[in-house]
Amino acid sequence: MYPADYRYTKQHEWIKVQGDIGTIGITDYAQQELGDVVFVDVPKVGAKLAPGKSFGSVESVKAVSEIYSPVSGEVTETNPLLVDTPEKINTDPHNSAWLIKLKLADPKEVAALMDAAAYQAYIAAQAKEHSA
C-alpha cells in the first residue's frame, strides 16, 4: 500500500526522490480522510518552498487540507492531470496523482522523514486515537 521507496510526513504527504528531483503527493490515508476531491491548489513553477510551510491545498466538498512541503526546494513541474480530474487523487494518490515536482535544495532533509513502516505505524496510532 505505501511504497517502500517513498518517504512520509506527519501531515500525510509523500515524497519520492530521483536524483535531485522530488515528486510530492498526499497519501492514501489523507485522501480517505478528505473524501471526494474537487479541487487542488498548487504553487506556480519556480516557487520556492520551505519544509513545514503550507504550499497549497486539496479540497473536498466539506473540507480543505493544507499541503505542507516535506523539504526545501524549487517547484519544477505541477501535475496537469489534476486541473481537470482532481478526483485522481482519490483513485491513485501515490502515482499518477502527484502534486508537484521540485528540485531539492538539500537532499539530506529527506532522511529525516518517516519510512513506509514508520508511517504505517503512525497512521495506525492515529486511527486508534480517532475511534477512542
Binding site: 479541487f39 491548489d41 479540497e59 473536498s60 466538498v61 466539506k62 473540507a63 480543505v64
Partner: protein, 448 residues
C-alpha cells in the same frame, strides 16, 4: 402572550416531565448574583394595534408626500405589488439558509436565477448570491483583487461614492492596504493622466464607479486597458443599477461591485439593500459569499445546491475569503422577481424614461440665470449643477415647499461648494420637475 404557544398547565406538564418544579431551576447555571430580580426597564408590552399606532406616528414625522431629487446611491424607482406579495409568502420570508438542499429547492432555484440575471446585466461571467450592499461589495471586491494580484496598493477615484470610500478605508486600515485617491477632470471622469505606469505596476486594483457620484459615465474599456497593461485589475462600482438598462455594462472590468437597490427595493432609510459581486469565471474561487450551483440527484433530477463552500468561513475559518455568513437573500429574491416582471423591454424603457426626465430637468434648471452644468461628461439620471448661491440655503427653502433638494457636494468635496447632484427618475412627474425648477428660480431671485 400571543407569540407563545403554551398554556400555563402545559408549562407545568413539561416541567414535571423534566423533573423540576419551577422554571427558575433551569437557570441555576447562571451565578446568582447575575440573575435579574426585577423585570427590565423596557417600553411595552404593546398589542398589535398599539404597535401599528407607534409606527404610524413615526411615519408621520418623516417626509411623506414630499418629492425628492436625491440620488447619491439610493434611488426612487417603480416597484410592483406582485413582487412584494411574493416575498411575503411564508415559505420565502420565514425559511432558512438553504444548507439542506432537499428542503430548500425554492430558495436555491431563485438564487441561481439571481446569479444569472446579475451576470446578464453586468456583462460578467459569474455572480454570487449577494453581499450586504454596494459599499461592502466594493470593499470585498478590492480585497479580492488584493488576493488575486498579491499587491497592496489600490487606486480609488474620488468620484466613487464618499461613503463607499469611507467603508473601504475602515477595512483597509488593518489589512495593510495602501489606498491612494485619484482626482477627476473637467469631464467629471477619472483623471487618466494620473495613472502612472510605475504606480500601476504595484497596484492591485484601479477602482471607479460608473455612473460615478457626480452622475458621469466613466470610460471603462480605456481604463481596463491601462490597468491591465501593468498587471492591475479594474474594479467597477455601480450604485444606480437601472442605468444598465441602456448603458453598456462594464464587461472589461475584472470585478463589478453593484448596489441592487434600484431593482424594486424601497429606500427604507438606508437598508436592507442587496450587494452584488460579479466577476470572471477564473476568479470564482477567490469570490466571497454564497454560490448556488446546478447539479443532479441519483435519479437525474436537476437540482441546486450551495457550492464551493470551502471559500467560506464555516469551513475555512480564519483563512476564509470573507467573514460573511448572513447575506441579503430575501432582497436578492425581491430584485430577481422585480427583474422578471419588468423584463428585457421594461428595463430598457425604464432606463430611457430616466434619461429623458433627467435631460428635461437639466434643461429646465440651466435656463435659470447663474445655474451651470459642472462637468462635460455623459450622464444618466444624475447630473451636477453649479448654483450662484449656497446649496444648503436653497435646500432649506425648498424643504418648506415639500421638496427635498439635491445632494450638496461641498461637504464631501470642499472644492465643489455651491454645486449639487440632482437625481430624476421615472417616478418624478413632469409637473414636479417644473415646480422644482420654478421654486429654485424663485429662491435665487430673492435678495441675499
Amino acid at each position: 402572550m400571543r407569540y407563545l404557544p403554551k398554556s400555563p398547565s402545559e408549562r407545568q406538564e413539561m416541567l414535571a416531565a423534566i423533573g423540576t418544579r419551577s422554571v427558575e431551576d433551569l437557570f441555576t447555571s447562571i451565578p446568582e448574583k447575575f440573575r435579574l430580580r426585577a423585570p427590565l426597564d423596557l417600553p411595552g408590552p404593546l398589542s398589535e394595534s398599539e404597535i401599528i399606532q407607534y409606527f404610524q406616528a413615526r411615519a408621520a414625522e418623516n417626509a411623506r408626500g414630499y418629492v425628492s431629487f436625491l440620488g447619491a446611491g439610493v434611488y426612487q424607482h417603480l416597484r410592483s405589488v406582485a413582487a412584494d406579495a411574493l416575498i411575503q409568502r411564508g415559505e420565502f420570508l420565514t425559511s432558512y439558509t438553504p444548507y439542506q438542499a432537499e428542503f430548500a429547492q425554492g430558495t436555491l432555484t431563485a438564487i441561481f436565477e439571481f446569479q444569472t440575471l446579475m451576470c446578464q446585466i453586468t456583462g460578467q461571467e459569474v455572480a454570487n448570491a449577494s453581499m450586504y450592499d454596494g459599499s461592502t461589495a466594493l470593499t470585498e471586491a478590492v480585497l479580492m483583487a488584493e488576493r488575486l494580484t498579491s499587491r497592496r496598493h489600490v487606486l480609488v477615484a474620488r468620484s466613487v461614492h464618499p461613503e463607499y470610500r469611507q467603508v473601504l478605508t475602515t477595512y483597509a486600515k488593518n489589512l495593510g492596504l495602501e489606498i491612494e485617491e485619484i482626482g477627476y477632470t473637467a469631464s467629471g471622469q477619472l483623471d487618466r493622466a494620473a495613472l502612472k505606469p510605475e504606480t500601476l505596476a504595484r497596484t492591485a486594483a484601479v477602482v471607479v464607479q460608473s455612473p460615478n457620484f457626480f452622475g458621469v459615465l466613466e470610460e471603462v474599456p480605456a481604463l481596463a486597458e491601462v490597468a491591465h497593461g501593468s498587471g492591475a485589475l479594474l474594479v467597477t462600482a455601480i450604485t444606480e443599477a437601472v442605468s444598465l438598462g441602456i448603458v453598456r455594462p462594464p464587461a472589461e472590468a475584472d470585478i463589478v461591485a453593484m448596489e441592487g437597490q434600484a431593482f424594486g427595493i424601497p429606500p427604507s432609510y438606508g437598508g436592507p439593500y442587496v450587494g452584488v459581486i460579479a466577476t470572471r469565471e477564473k476568479f470564482v474561487r477567490q469570490m466571497p459569499g454564497r454560490l448556488a450551483g446546478q447539479t443532479t440527484d441519483a435519479t437525474g433530477n436537476r437540482g441546486f445546491v450551495l457550492t464551493l463552500a470551502t471559500r467560506e468561513q464555516h469551513i475555512r475559518r480564519e483563512k476564509a475569503t470573507s467573514n460573511i455568513c448572513t447575506n441579503e437573500a430575501l432582497y436578492a429574491l425581491a430584485a430577481t422577481i422585480h427583474l422578471c416582471l419588468i423584463g428585457k423591454e421594461g428595463l430598457r424603457e425604464q432606463a430611457l424614461q430616466n434619461l429623458a426626465k433627467a435631460r428635461f430637468a437639466q434643461a429646465e434648471l440651466e435656463k435659470i440665470p447663474g445655474v451651470r452644468r459642472v462637468f462635460t461628461g455623459p450622464t444618466f439620471n444624475e447630473f451636477s449643477l453649479e448654483f450662484p448661491r449656497s446649496v444648503k440655503m436653497i435646500n432649506a427653502e425648498l424643504l418648506k415647499e415639500k421638496i427635498i433638494g439635491p445632494f450638496a457636494l461641498g461637504t464631501q468635496y470642499p472644492e465643489l461648494t455651491k454645486r449639487a447632484v440632482i437625481c430624476v427618475t421615472e417616478t418624478t412627474p413632469r409637473a414636479e420637475i417644473e415646480r422644482f425648477a420654478a421654486a429654485v428660480r424663485r429662491i435665487l431671485e430673492r435678495p441675499v
